[in-house]
C-alpha cells in the first residue's frame, strides 16, 4: 500500500499533528510511506520526516507556495498522487489541511473521511474510526476506491521517532490559473501575553452563552475566586469579546487543568479537542442537549447568569471560612 502524508509546516518546523499521522501510518506495517512538504524555502525542513517513518519526502519548493493557502497546494498534490500512484493521502486537521483535503477529493474524485481518530487495516484495506453526533457514536468508515483521503482530528496521534533517513524527491510546481487568484494580504500571528492558561490548575471558560462581552466579568470573578485562569471559545474570540490568547480548542490552546468549568459553551468538537484532557469537567449550559454534557463529569442544566455569581460567592465563603 502506498501512503502519502501531507506534512504541514510553520515557522520552519514540521507540525506535530502531521508527524503524528506519519507515525501512525508507519505503524500499520506493510506500507510504502512517503511525506510531502509544499512551501517556499522548505527543502531544509523536510528531512526530519524520515525519523517518523517516511522513506521518501516529496518537496515542492516554489515562491507561489509561500503563503499557507490551499489551492496551489492542491495542484501539486494532485499531480504527485496521480503520477506516483498513491493509494491513500493522510492529513492532520488544520484550517489549511481541511481545505486542501476537500479540494483534492473533488479534483481526484476521491473519498474523504474527516474527523478521524484512528486508522487500521482490515482485509487489506484501510478502515478508520470517526466519532459522530457529538461523539455519541463511533463509526467505522471506509473508502470504495483509491485514492483514499483521510483527515485526522487534532491530537489523534503522537509522533513516534521510530524511523530512519528519508530520501528527498524534488517536485516541479505547476498551477491552475484560479489557484493563484487568492492572495495572502496579512498574517498576524499574535503571541500571548500574561499568565498562560496552559499552566493553570483551574480554567474557567466562557462561551457565547454569556450573551455579551461584559458578562465575561462573571467568569473572571469565578476564576479569581478559584485561583484559576480564564478560557474562551472561538465564537467569542472571533466576535471580539475576548482575546485570542485565551481561546481553547483546535485553533487555540490545549489545556489539561485539574478543573475545567465551561460556562455557556456548547462543546463543539473543535473546542473539546483542546480541553478533554482536563481531570474534572463541570459544564453549565441551559440547553439539556448541549454536546458539552456528553463529556462533563458534572453537567448543570441552567442559566450561567444565575448560577455563576452564586457559585463565586459560595467559593469565596469557603476560601474565607
Amino acid at each position: 500500500m502506498k501512503i502519502l502524508v501531507f506534512l504541514e509546516h510553520h515557522g520552519n518546523e514540521l507540525q506535530k499533528g502531521s508527524l503524528g499521522v506519519l507515525s501512525k501510518a508507519a505503524s500499520l506495517g506493510d506500507v510504502d510511506l512517503a511525506g510531502v512538504v509544499l512551501g517556499s524555502g522548505v527543502r531544509e525542513i523536510a528531512s526530519p520526516a524520515g525519523k517518523f517513518g517516511a522513506t521518501r519526502v516529496y518537496v515542492c519548493d516554489d515562491a507561489a507556495l509561500e503563503a499557507p493557502l490551499p489551492q496551489p497546494r492542491v495542484d501539486v498534490l494532485a499531480r504527485v498522487v496521480r503520477d506516483e500512484g498513491f493509494d491513500a493521502v493522510l492529513f492532520a486537521q488544520s484550517v489549511l489541511a481541511a481545505d486542501i483535503a476537500s479540494a483534492l477529493a473533488a479534483r481526484l474524485d476521491a473519498g474523504l473521511n474527516w474527523d478521524l481518530v484512528d486508522l487500521g487495516v482490515q482485509d487489506g484495506a484501510l478502515v478508520a474510526k470517526r466519532p459522530a453526533l457529538a461523539d455519541t457514536v463511533y463509526v467505522d468508515v471506509g473508502w470504495t476506491g483509491e485514492p483514499r483521503l483521510a483527515l485526522f482530528r487534532s491530537g489523534a496521534f503522537d509522533p513516534a521517532a521510530t524511523g530512519g533517513e528519508a530520501e528527498l524527491v524534488d517536485v516541479v510546481a505547476g498551477f491552475e490559473d484560479f489557484s493563484l487568484a487568492a492572495t495572502m494580504i496579512e498574517q498576524a500571528h499574535e503571541e500571548s501575553e500574561g499568565p498562560s492558561i496552559e499552566d493553570s490548575d483551574v480554567v474557567v471558560a466562557g462561551g457565547r452563552g454569556l450573551g455579551a462581552p461584559e458578562k465575561f466579568e462573571l467568569v473572571e470573578e469565578l476564576a479569581k475566586a478559584l485561583g484559576g485562569a480564564v478560557g474562551s471559545t472561538r465564537a467569542v474570540v472571533d466576535a471580539g469579546w475576548y482575546p485570542y490568547a485565551t481561546q481553547v480548542g483546535q485553533t487555540g490552546k490545549t489545556v489539561a487543568p485539574k478543573l475545567y468549568i465551561a460556562c455557556g459553551i456548547s462543546g463543539a468538537i473543535q473546542h473539546k479537542v483542546g480541553m478533554q484532557g482536563s481531570n474534572v469537567i463541570v459544564a453549565i449550559n441551559k440547553d439539556p442537549n448541549a454536546p458539552i454534557f456528553e463529556y462533563s463529569d458534572l453537567g448543570v442544566v441552567g442559566d450561567v447568569h444565575a448560577i455563576v455569581p452564586k457559585l463565586t460567592e459560595l467559593v469565596r465563603e469557603r476560601r474565607r471560612g
Binding site: A103, L151, I269, L311
Partner: protein, 257 residues
C-alpha cells in the same frame, strides 16, 4: 451583484443514525442549519450595501428541506433552488460537491457564500471541494468580510493567529458564526416568503448522471456503528436554585476546593 448562498436542512433535536441504512435519520423535524443563517445574513447585507442584485439560496436535500429554505426567504433572500432527488440520498462529500457545483454553475453568481459547518456532519469542508469544481478562488472561515472593487477580503482565524486573504470575483467564501448577528424573519417577511420563486430540480434536470450522486457517486462508506468508549460516571443536575451549592459539594468531594 448576484450572490448564491448554500444552505442545508439538518435534523432538529436529538439525532440518531439509522442502524439499517447507516445514514443519519432524516425522517423527523428538520430546521435550517443554524450556521447557515450567518451566511444568509452576510449575503443579504452585501446585497443591500450594493443597492442592487439578488440573493439566491441553493440547497441539496430532501423535499422537506423546503421548510428550511422558506426561512431564508423570510429573512430576505430573493429566490431559492432546491436540488432534490431520491438518487441523491446518501451523497458524501464528492457527490454532494458535484451536485451542488452543477446547481451553482447554472446560477453563475459573482459570489458563493457557505456557512461554517453543517451541524449534522461537522464537516466544515464542502466549500473547498465546490470551489475546486467551479475553478474559483476560495476564502474559508471568514470572520470579517469586505467587498470592494470586485474583490473580497476576508479575515480568518487559523491555528497561528489571523490571516487576511483577498480574492477577485467570482469567488467562493465560507463565513463563521462570528461574522454577524442573523436577523429574525419579520411577520411581513414570513408572509412574503410564500410568494417568492422556489424551484425544485431533479438530477436529470441539472444534467447530472445518476451514478455521480447518492451512494453510487460516493467514495466513502460507513461500515459499522459502535458504542463510544465509556467515560465513567457522569452526573447531571437541573438547576432548581441550588445548582451553585451542589457544584460546591461536587468540588469538595473531588477535593478541588
Amino acid at each position: 451583484m448576484k450572490i448564491a448562498v448554500c444552505v442545508k436542512q439538518v435534523p432538529e433535536g436529538s439525532r440518531r443514525i439509522d442502524a439499517a441504512t447507516k445514514r443519519l435519520d432524516r425522517s423527523g423535524e428538520g430546521a435550517l442549519n443554524p450556521y447557515d443563517a450567518y451566511a444568509v445574513e452576510e449575503a443579504l447585507r452585501l446585497r443591500d450595501a450594493s443597492g442592487e442584485g439578488e440573493v439566491v439560496v441553493v440547497s441539496v436535500g430532501p423535499a422537506s428541506a423546503a421548510d428550511a429554505i422558506r426561512k431564508t426567504l423570510a429573512m430576505g433572500a430573493d429566490r431559492a433552488v432546491l436540488v432534490s432527488d431520491d438518487a441523491a440520498a446518501g451523497s458524501d462529500l464528492v457527490a454532494t460537491s458535484y451536485v451542488l457545483a452543477n446547481a451553482l454553475e447554472r446560477e453563475s453568481s459573482d459570489l458563493v457564500v457557505f456557512g461554517y459547518q453543517a451541524a449534522d456532519s461537522d464537516g466544515a469542508v464542502l466549500w473547498a471541494a465546490v470551489a475546486d469544481r467551479l475553478r474559483r478562488p476560495v476564502v474559508s472561515q471568514v470572520a470579517e468580510l469586505r467587498l470592494e472593487s470586485g474583490r473580497v477580503r476576508g479575515k480568518r482565524q487559523t491555528e497561528f493567529g489571523y490571516d487576511v486573504i483577498e480574492a477577485p470575483l467570482p469567488a467562493v467564501v465560507a463565513v463563521t458564526d462570528a461574522i454577524n448577528e442573523p436577523r429574525y424573519p419579520s411577520l411581513k417577511g414570513i408572509m412574503g416568503a410564500k410568494r417568492k420563486p422556489q424551484e425544485t430540480l431533479t438530477l436529470a434536470e441539472l444534467g447530472i448522471e445518476a451514478e455521480r450522486a447518492g451512494e453510487a457517486g460516493s467514495r466513502t462508506v460507513v461500515l459499522a456503528l459502535n458504542e463510544p468508549p465509556s467515560r465513567g460516571e457522569a452526573r447531571r443536575i437541573e438547576d432548581d436554585g441550588d445548582a451553585a451549592a451542589r457544584i460546591v459539594e461536587f468540588l469538595l468531594e473531588k477535593r478541588l476546593l
